[in-house]
């Protein structure tokens, strides 16, 4: 009897491991194209940039100078303001994102149906526009002369676009612009997370007399905690790299006779300036490496500390 069971279980485990192997092969086959692109356009340039940051680049000459680029960049008068700008932007945008996305997702999840689905699609649409186009749409919206919200803008004292696009307002402006473009995608993801909550839990809470708000606060929110942290970390990593919005605003805010408004507002822009205004790829790489290191640390935290990427055991 025991031998029969053992043989049956051996057969089963042999069959299972065969199934597991073919499952793994299919998974790798799906992942392979992305991995190729990742290597060519992600990891490759990053490694090249890391190496380049240790060299002084003049024309096509490369001279090894160790960490001199990092020290030089640290002493640049635009370095601290750029980081300050980026951190201010994050300080405004991250709470807006986290609270906004979670609140909207929970609200949409209260009653599922056509309205909820339609709203999710509407929230998602701005994210389908490329970043630069969305900045242009916003500039159009903020110009009292041409905006459909012109009267409302005039009512709060804004008679001229240039009152709005001032460097002092940039952090707020970008926070709002990036929120409208990125919130939709995260709302869709949060919805997926909320859908994975077993309905029995929600029903049990409802039977126990919980209101919708209490269900959201005590049942749903703890169960999507991982998604919220994932979103937060990814937003930080993406946020510190902000480039498109300040560059677009720079184009608009400049007079036609030259003179840019904010060519080095964000750290990424400063890196761009180093590369293409000062012909200093080494310095630009040093700045980029700083951004990379911060993003990398955050990514590692997400992977290893939030349990988001834990692989579940498959029962067969």
């Amino acid at each position: 009897m025991e031998r029969l069971t053992r043989r049956a279980s051996n057969e089963r485990s042999a069959r299972d491991s065969g199934a597991k192997h073919s499952f793994a092969k299919v998974a790798y086959a799906f992942a392979l194209p992305y991995l190729l692109f990742l290597a060519a356009f992600g990891i490759g340039p990053a490694v090249f940039g890391a190496a380049l940051s240790l060299f002084k680049t003049t024309g096509s000459n490369r001279d090894f100078i160790g960490i001199a680029n990092y020290i030089k960049v640290l002493g640049d008068f635009r370095f601290v303001p750029a980081w300050t700008n980026v951190l201010t932007y994050l300080l405004i945008w991250l709470p807006l994102m986290t609270v906004g996305v979670v609140a909207i997702s929970l609200l949409l999840h209260v009653r599922l149906g056509r309205v909820s689905t339609l709203m999710r699609m509407i929230y998602y649409l701005p994210g389908a526009i490329a970043g630069s186009a969305s900045v242009l749409v916003w500039l159009f919206m903020l110009s009292p002369d041409v905006s459909p919200f012109g009267p409302a803008l005039n009512a709060i004292g804004i008679s001229d676009l240039y009152q709005v696009i001032r460097p002092a307002n940039f952090a707020w402006l970008f926070a709002v612009i990036v929120f409208t473009t990125s919130a939709g995608g995260w709302i869709v993801i949060m919805h997926g997370g909320l859908q994975s909550i077993p309905t029995e839990l929600i029903e049990a809470a409802a039977i126990d007399g919980a209101t919708e708000r209490q269900i959201a606060q005590y049942v749903k929110l703890p169960l999507i905690r991982r998604y919220v942290i994932y979103m937060f970390m990814l937003s930080v990593a993406g946020g510190i790299q902000i480039f498109v919005e300040p560059t677009m605003l720079n184009q608009v805010g400049s007079a036609s006779s030259g003179g840019s408004l904010s060519p080095w507002w964000s750290v990424n822009q400063l890196g761009f300036t180093y590369a293409f205004q000062q012909a200093d790829f080494g310095g630009a790489s040093a700045l980029s490496m700083e951004l990379l290191v911060v993003s990398l640390l955050l990514a590692l935290v997400v992977v290893f500390r939030t349990g988001f990427f834990d692989v579940a055991e498959l029962d067969r």
């Binding site: 992305y34 994210g127 001229d160 480039f243 400049s254 003179g259 990398l296």
Partner: protein, 450 residues
């Protein structure tokens, strides 16, 4: 299923990498910059040209970067010189620096001739950082240089000539003749009169303008004409910066009261919504192209309103200096494999009357401008401004230099922004000075201050 330890490590590292790079262009909405790496094919090794410079027998392959407005000039050259195979690439001028840096790193891909609307790019192109502009001192004939007159300021530095001018932009005093007659004012001949008139206008006819301060034009048109020393290149890679010089502060002392009174606007003439106030411009110090591009084409003012007058004089100055605001340049690449043809091209488009006729600006080359100055006798202007331009072109202040870092960017961020937000020019000049010094040092200059 349970994974082996190494498999799990591989998977999570891969996930970390994916996470990291998806942050670049993920739902966060912002994406990392992509440098424009357009393939600019340089000239291939061509047979050397036959015949001296200026000869129609010039041949070879040439690549040209230009804007769409100057494209007809290059096409005319190609028609007139069948031996030259011209590859004209229309590109946005703001991408030139990045493309040249990429070409420098790749050691190929430079064009042969570049047209630039920004004359300050010559110093950047010629600086050791870029090493792009060829030295034209020996290949441009002396009489050609003489006929350019005083317009070669952005091109001639370090004792060498690095570019040729397409159009000159000597500032003049544009005014609305109808309004001036209506209000009974006379044109100022000194800056003291200018200030007095500005204050009078603010009092008697509020809303009417004698200038704008919301952009970097003040730097080019006022500071240059006054001789303010902050681009004062005294030796190669040595720049003298002193914003406390009286020649700088007198500009602030004149403009700040007018800004406060309202007759100099805090906005910029190039603001999207300014056109509706354009008929309120009583007078303004601007370049010749302002009359055509802005007054006529953008603001669409009626005919017979606008005329040009000579610049006012600062007390103590020997003459009513003018400045330049813009004016395109042609640079020849130092990497070109066909130097005679490239120089011939640059000379032809900048000096040949047939070429310059295709350009609506005020030609920098004297004879070429004389050949086409009838274009200024249009019905738009109340009086032909060409004589005023010609006079102003002989009085371009020559002690102004160009530097390899973006000074007008710093001006826009410090002074222009301060003015727009309600501040004064005088208070923001020290911030401007500090940033000029810092940027000069980053660009490799040593700075003498004061």
């Amino acid at each position: 299923m349970k994974w082996s330890t190494s498999g799990r490590w591989l998977c999570t590292t891969g996930a970390a990498a994916a996470l990291l790079f998806s942050a670049c262009a993920g739902p966060a909405g912002t994406s990392a910059p992509s440098a424009e790496a357009t393939a600019a094919t340089g000239s291939s090794a061509a047979p050397s040209s036959v015949g001296p410079v200026g000869s129609p027998q010039v041949q070879g392959n040439l690549t040209v970067w230009t804007d769409s407005i100057r494209q007809p000039l290059f096409e005319a050259y190609a028609t007139a010189h069948p031996g030259v195979n011209l590859n004209i690439q229309v590109a946005d001028g703001s991408t030139y620096l990045s493309k040249i840096v990429l070409a420098n790193n790749a050691n190929s891909g430079w064009p042969d001739v570049v047209f630039s609307t920004d004359p300050s790019q010559a110093t950047t192109f010629a600086s050791p950082l870029y090493g792009f502009a060829a030295d034209l001192t020996t290949v441009v004939p002396a009489d050609v240089v003489a006929n350019f007159g005083k317009t070669l300021t952005p091109c001639a530095f370090g004792g060498k000539l690095y570019c040729l001018r397409n159009d000159a932009a000597p500032t003049v005093l544009w005014y609305n003749k109808k309004l001036m007659d209506q209000f009974g004012y006379t044109l100022p001949t000194t800056y003291a009169e200018y200030e007095a008139l500005g204050l009078k206008v603010a009092q008697e006819h509020p809303g009417y303008l004698v200038g704008s301060a919301g952009d970097s034009d003040v730097m080019w048109e006022w500071m240059w004409a006054s001789g303010c020393p902050f681009n004062d290149v005294t030796a190669p890679s040595v720049v003298h910066i002193n914003l406390k010089d009286p020649r700088c502060t007198r500009v602030a002392d004149l403009l700040d009261p007018l800004i406060k009174a309202g007759s100099v606007t805090r906005a910029s003439y190039y603001d999207a919504g300014f056109a509706k106030d354009a008929d309120k411009i009583l007078m303004s110090i601007e370049a010749p192209w302002f009359g055509t591009s802005l007054f006529r084409d953008t603001y669409k003012l009626p005919d017979g309103l606008i005329a040009a007058a000579p610049m006012p004089t600062w007390s103590g100055d020997p003459v009513n200096y003018s400045a330049e605001n813009g004016g395109g340049i042609y640079t020849v690449s130092s990497h070109t494999t066909n130097m005679p043809a490239a120089v011939d091209l640059a000379l032809w488009v900048s000096t040949n009357p047939d070429a310059q006729k295709l350009d609506a600006g005020y030609s920098a080359y004297g004879p070429a401008e004389k050949a086409k100055d009838q274009q200024w006798a249009s019905s738009f202007f109340a009086a032909n401004p060409a004589p005023v331009f010609a006079d102003a072109a002989t009085k371009i202040r020559q002690d102004w230099k160009f530097v390899a870092y973006p000074v007008d960017s710093i001006w826009t961020q410090t002074v222009a922004q301060a003015v727009r937000s309600g501040g004064t020019i005088a208070d923001s000049l020290s911030a401007f000075e500090t940033q000029c010094i810092q940027l000069a040092q980053i660009a490799g200059y040593s700075v003498t201050n004061p």
